[in-house]
Symmetry: C2
């Protein structure tokens, strides 16, 4: 049976990425060797990382003066690397969920932290309005999580604040144009819209580095990786190769604008089905803050007891990974770039069929 992959991450990758990666595991670049066992110093792999870097710059229109890094360790490692490298005295944050919360916790080890707005008390069911106006000019940076995988909320516009921006775009990078010039750093764990787990992209403004007084351990200092083109130590070779495949596929499709068009179309299809349903209801209270990547919904109180039955019903029809995160419950359908609209239609069909039966 055809599977529809709605996992929140690691999550669906394009068939182009999967097929080319499988081929490279058997024979990479006609070397007669597997991508799993080749030196990162080989000219063949250097070509991979160079092309992947160039494509990130092209697709996101990264201005001159920025470096694109490919780091191991996961996006969570960035929660401490960001303040280690950028926090001199004070930074502001918006607390929109677990990942923002974790980033705030780490930043407090390094300097003053101002949380300008939070929806924690309301279980992160919305993006607080007017947060940008509360950010003051005396901040080293304003930090936000652009998409909240767990709660299904998203900030899809570069905030207009009187200081530099830093953002964790792990779960919605490559789904909208970004004005990179407003940022000192953008990072994204690859395992949503790019590659298998194991690599994190970091885009840093070179001139923003080197302004803190504290000593920084070598591996946590972005300058180390800028200077060595992400080759100070052995980078995660296979995830970078897979990322290149995805980036080539994105370019071929038409780039960010076409990806955004598709993502908006998919999200509209599912949100419309939820909003017009007698049985299901979205968990995000303000439609303006709804994520187009992770759609969170539950059964209305009068149908609540049917939730396990719907999971089973949908699973039998090939839906994978639609169980909601334990902190929200219900259902979560992640509609990352690689998910075809046919999978969204299949899920909507499931919902309609199930409603007819109950």
């Amino acid at each position: 049976m055809k599977k529809h992959n709605f996992y929140a991450g690691p999550s669906i990758l394009s068939q182009y990425t999967i097929k080319n990666t499988a081929d490279a595991v058997l024979n990479f670049a006609d070397m007669g060797l597997s991508i799993l066992e080749i030196s990162h110093r080989s000219k063949q792999f250097q070509a991979v990382i160079d092309e992947a870097t160039a494509l990130v710059k092209e697709l996101l229109e990264v201005p001159a003066g920025y470096s694109v890094l490919w780091l191991g360790g996961g996006a969570s490692m960035q929660f401490c690397m960001i303040p280690y490298n950028f926090l001199r005295t004070k930074a502001s944050f918006i607390d929109t969920g677990t990942w923002a919360h974790n980033a705030i916790k780490e930043a407090k080890l390094f300097g003053e932290v101002d949380v300008v707005a939070s929806s924690e008390a309301e279980h992160y069911t919305f993006i607080p309005k007017g947060f940008a106006e509360k950010v003051t000019a005396d901040n080293d940076y304003f930090y936000y999580t652009s998409n909240n995988t767990i709660y299904g909320t998203e900030i899809r516009k570069d905030p207009d604040v009187p200081c530099r921006l830093i953002s964790d775009m792990s779960s919605d990078i490559f789904s909208r144009p970004v004005d990179v010039a407003k940022y000192d750093a953008i990072f994204a764990g690859a395992q949503k819209n790019l590659a298998p787990a194991g690599v994190t992209i970091v885009i840093v403004r070179d001139d923003a580095l080197g302004h803190v007084d504290r000593p920084i351990p070598t591996m946590l200092d972005y300058r180390t990786h800028v200077k060595k083109g992400s080759m100070f130590n052995t980078p995660p070779v296979l995830p970078i190769y897979s990322a290149l495949q995805t980036l080539k596929y994105y370019k071929e499709l038409g780039g960010i604008k076409e990806l955004e068009r598709r993502d908006l179309e998919k999200a509209a299809l599912l949100y419309d089905a939820i909003d017009s349903s007698r049985m299901f209801v979205g968990t995000v209270t303000d439609p303006a803050g709804r994520s187009i990547m992770n759609v969170c919904f539950v059964m209305k109180p009068e149908y609540k007891e049917l939730e396990p039955a719907f999971i089973e019903f949908a699973t039998e029809r090939g839906m994978v990974g639609i169980k909601g995160h334990r902190s929200v419950g219900g259902f979560r359908a992640s509609l990352y770039n690689a998910l075809p609209i046919e999978s969204v239609r299949a899920l909507v069909d499931c919902m309609n069929e199930f409603q007819k039966l109950h």
Copy 2:
């Protein structure tokens, strides 16, 4: 043409590991999905990491009270994580090459560092004798790099010192029995004897954690990963799957003792060929400190100019990755566990043929 993979790392993996990984990239655990796109929270992946952890414990006879962790970020990240977590006042080191040197540099950010012996002035061409006697009991730990990939030296016996041990075993783990009970931590980047680049194994003694006063960023605190079974954040899924394949293969072969027997046999074959040659000479001056993983050799002065010709000659015959590291020059043949003895024979044949011609 059959390729003989002598890369220093990332490096040769068993055909069993490569084939099973390629299969899982197309269809993992009969899920109808790729290992690249499945949730690390799926029960199928939980089974992978559990089995891999159990096999590390079984193969290395890890005693009770230790945790096995699977971390992203590369072994170089451990150079700061080790002192962050273990260095209270003072640690001792032996400086045997680049990796030891880098670890010493990071430790100095956290406490007093005593380098009991170094062969740096002699270009790390030997392991300093009697180093263990210079280690005093007032150390939090004695740190050593068990194998020096770049210089081809190795410490193949757990040092007998009056304090706890910590070791970077990145390039010779699973090539000898280790008395884990003497260690507070052992770590190893996977990309030599285990898996593709992107995961680092750390074996830590649970009771040795939590004794430093400094605040530790969450991701750099081993307790975070112990508590969450390496699932605090998304672990590098594919490299862990490949590691499991290698570990199963090791167990099937007969475990560490059989691996060591094979490794010693391969190394003896190549060192004998070098030592009995009129043209080649090993770079490590004391045979007792020679690595059985990385064999470094050069042409004798009277043949020195033939080095590029030999690289070309060997490359034409399928040898890959035998160019020496730029800090040593000449040649380096890495004989990791997955390298069959036939490849060593092929290299020795090459050397003999070349000598006949010149």
